[in-house]
């Protein structure tokens, strides 16, 4: 994928959305998450949640949203950003909703 040729959102499936989000996370966080397995259950923010966590901050989120916009063509409305998200799967559900696809996201 290149920044000059964004992919137009068409019919998406949950796996494709998850894969794109994972790619965005690895692009944003770089080597910090190189050894981290990222699944739908992985949490973005540090919290008391025992699940694996990416330790995102608001600037990581900015880069991820910009990545999804410019590389995938997925424009996430501002009122949806960060509102109640905990996991990578939560973001995938939001993406599926805003691009009009089914909201069934597999764990993995």
């Amino acid at each position: 994928m290149s920044a000059s040729e964004p992919t137009k959102p068409k019919q998406l499936d949950a796996d494709a959305v998850l894969d794109a989000i994972k790619l965005g996370i690895r692009t944003v966080k770089g080597p910090v998450v190189a050894e981290t397995e990222i699944t739908a259950e992985t949490c973005f923010w540090a919290s008391e949640d025992p699940r694996p966590c990416l330790d995102f901050d608001s600037l990581d989120l900015l880069e991820l949203i910009i990545f999804l916009e410019s590389e995938m063509g997925w424009q996430i409305p501002e009122h949806e950003i960060g509102a109640g998200w905990v996991t990578v799967g939560d973001l995938a559900v939001v993406v599926m909703r805003v691009v009009g696809a089914p909201t069934q996201v597999a764990d993995g």
Partner: protein
Amino acid sequence: MPALRRGDRDRVSVEPMLAGGRELIDLQAEGFYGPAADAFVAEVSRRHPARAVYVRATAEAIARHDLPGVDAEVVAHEVFSNFVRTHFVSKLLMVAAPEATVGFLAEHFDTATVEAALGRAGPSVISGFHYTAFPLVGLGLAMSAAAPVISKARFDVLDQPGTDTSDQIVHLSDRSAAIRLTRALRGGRSVWALLDVVLPETRTARTEFLGREMTVSAGFGKVARLSGRACLPISWELRDDGIRLEAGAAVLVDGRSEAEIIDAAVAAQAAFVCAHPTQWLEWYSVLDHAPAVRAEVRQGNESIWDTLRSIL
């Protein structure tokens, strides 16, 4: 001043700060500048629980820079007066006398220099430090033709729902704040950001200011780079005849890293701070224990507002 009821008179007699606040509100726009607010400033200063901490930290920070002809202790006391003028005079009048505030800005705040600079640089991160009367300057810019999105560190007494500019404000405590600012810039709208305060739990960057290390928020460098928009340094001075606003040379993003953008935008404030050291309210930002000082000052502000709210 309107006639006071007996209960009010009793309360005012033991609360000179409230009496001063009422007199200030009665002054309307004339309260913003000049000596009219001096008595109120003196009373708030006397009552402020963090005054000693603020003045001591400010003097320590100023002394580190060894500015020629500057007595750090004297300047630190003047800075604190300007701090009170900003957080209590400006904000009290902005809330209690909104029409007078708009009238004051229309008459005493000329944004032409910033609008001309934006005309050359295009939509930009309009960046400054926390100088005297910064909330008033933010409102003046929001009302101007430039109409930037205003980033705001904290909720305070100014956050009144339904005001004309409330939809222009982005609170930095919101997780989506940086995204909203970046999208505004990409969409062709400027944003206003003050660089010298670091909020808890936000990513920081180390830079240099007047030859000393300083910690600033990393966010504006990233927002500028991702939006591809310039930083436009501005500064201002509250004078007896109003607010004098200046714009510096735009810091273009082309080829610069985020760290280089931050370094250049911060360095652009140095000449103004050296020439007008009493105007910078956040001198203590250069100290390692700035977060602790800031927390104590903020708590002191809240205690003063707990009292002042009764006259709003």
